[in-house]
Symmetry: C2
Subunit: 345 residues, 2 copies
Amino acid sequence: MSDKRTELRELGEFGLIEKLTSNFELKNPSSIKGVGDDAAVITMNDTDVQLVSTDTLIEGIHFNLMYMPLKHLGYKAVSVNVSDICAMNGKAEQITVSLAVSNRFPLEALEELYDGIKIACDHFGVDLIGGDTTSSQSGLIITITVLGKTAKENVVYRNGAKEFDLLVVTGDLGAAYMGLQILEREKEVFVANPDIQPDLDGHDYIIQRQLKPEARIDVVKYLKELDVQPTSMIDISDGLASEILHLCNQSNVGCHVYDEKIPIDGQTSIAAIDFNIDPVTCALNGGEDYELLFTIDQNDYEKIKGNPHLTVIGHMTNASDGIYFIDKNGAAVPLKAQGWDHLKD
Amino acid sequence: MSDKRTELRELGEFGLIEKLTSNFELKNPSSIKGVGDDAAVITMNDTDVQLVSTDTLIEGIHFNLMYMPLKHLGYKAVSVNVSDICAMNGKAEQITVSLAVSNRFPLEALEELYDGIKIACDHFGVDLIGGDTTSSQSGLIITITVLGKTAKENVVYRNGAKEFDLLVVTGDLGAAYMGLQILEREKEVFVANPDIQPDLDGHDYIIQRQLKPEARIDVVKYLKELDVQPTSMIDISDGLASEILHLCNQSNVGCHVYDEKIPIDGQTSIAAIDFNIDPVTCALNGGEDYELLFTIDQNDYEKIKGNPHLTVIGHMTNASDGIYFIDKNGAAVPLKAQGWDHLKD
């Protein structure tokens, strides 16, 4: 090893993965797509491909057991992985679960966690097929690998968006982030005075969005029923802005995204204002929404028009036109990702 | 959650996994085999099935960076996963790598680790297709999921051994364990006096077995060439005794295994005697050999006779006859697993 020392926080997560994996090549004919999308793609048979993705949740980084019940954590760990398969337009079928746990957890705690995993498996139609359990020196770490499949011609990558395509998002954004702020605030109150009951009234939706995010398996079905094949797709884990930049950069297009179009729930707005945060900032940079962001050909617009799950928030442009956020006054500002990067923060 | 508190160490790893996963069922038609073998089995196409396994290595539990170079660690993490695919009689094709790292590691350290991963990928013919990198609060954790395949009719499970089958092991046993003892001893010497150079002379083979274990992809090829289809198979990660018990229990057979037949390298014996350990105890309970243990029909004996990679160490009996270790005096003692269980130790 050379004596050079480059701090990981200088690179951030995406820069780091890029640096570490850039000299790996795919050599097996069965490996269709490797690192760089929501899931890898592998040959299965004449009609279908397999989708593979993996995600790790670490205590103290991704969750805090002071307000995250273990059952919810189990559910969330499955859901965020299934979401990656949805983002490829596929159906999740199997998961493996690797746990590292310190001895401070009794069996009963892990049973709670697995109850949540089982509820998620049943809900998403996924089979638990393997994994391992090892002891850790501190805390709880869950790594899930999810396997899914889809017809060859239906796979959607991040790099297929074209100029003039419409940019569409599912559900609403920013709620999971505001749910986290509420939970963090009530935790502080509790730490200061354990006799005070947490005040979560009126925040049930945004707290649910934080604790129990739902992978949009329904949207993948709707798109099929509506006969809409997205040209590019990604799931929103780090924040809308970050994901738009991924689609634009990988598809080599620009984008105009409109402030006034971004779907935000009333509870999110109320909580955001209460915290002196612009609700749109939550939507752009909050992360953990696990909604789908995708592009469609303009000719498909009629098929999705009026669908309550889908909102057109912008359109793709020529790459040289740049990537812009159009605010409520019509002013265009370059879109920047300020999403959550745990290696930098 | 009830107030009951059952300590994880009361259960051990296998008991824990059994407890946590016993109420999960396989529902997707593509899921052929779930938890309980070296790898899960999934339908791929008319001729092949896919094999899936996952393994986690944790700093301070599975490795110590004081004597484990990061490049070796990367290699080993891939190798132990590939070994699980070998144990199903398959060929590993893809891996995902999930890393959790604390900020004490610079980029250059992770590059060393990935250099080792790349060398292993090239050696085993495996493609890196995905994974993620997150920050951890302490230490380094590597979870690898490996995907492999084999022809449907060639999959070997742990549960197919029959009475009168021969029990066969590849390579030699106990070396990785003695390599670890040497490394631990020299670490203690170094900690006590950093000016003293580690004395590793004459131990190169057993240290290599600990730091750079080799998944037996060659044996899977030989078996095919020899037209030998094992009736059951497992890889030796926890120790010969533990793995024999797995094969017997899952196949519902008994076993006689012969002390004098167990293959042990000269370096292993010398080191064991130096440490006042019976070399056979290292072989039975040491673990981390990553050799293959399998059973074959007696009619296949002629095909493997004299093969330098394969040693017949016993034969399977009726379940009611029990599982016995026959010592050098011909005395039969019930075989017990004292293998390494990180949840208990």
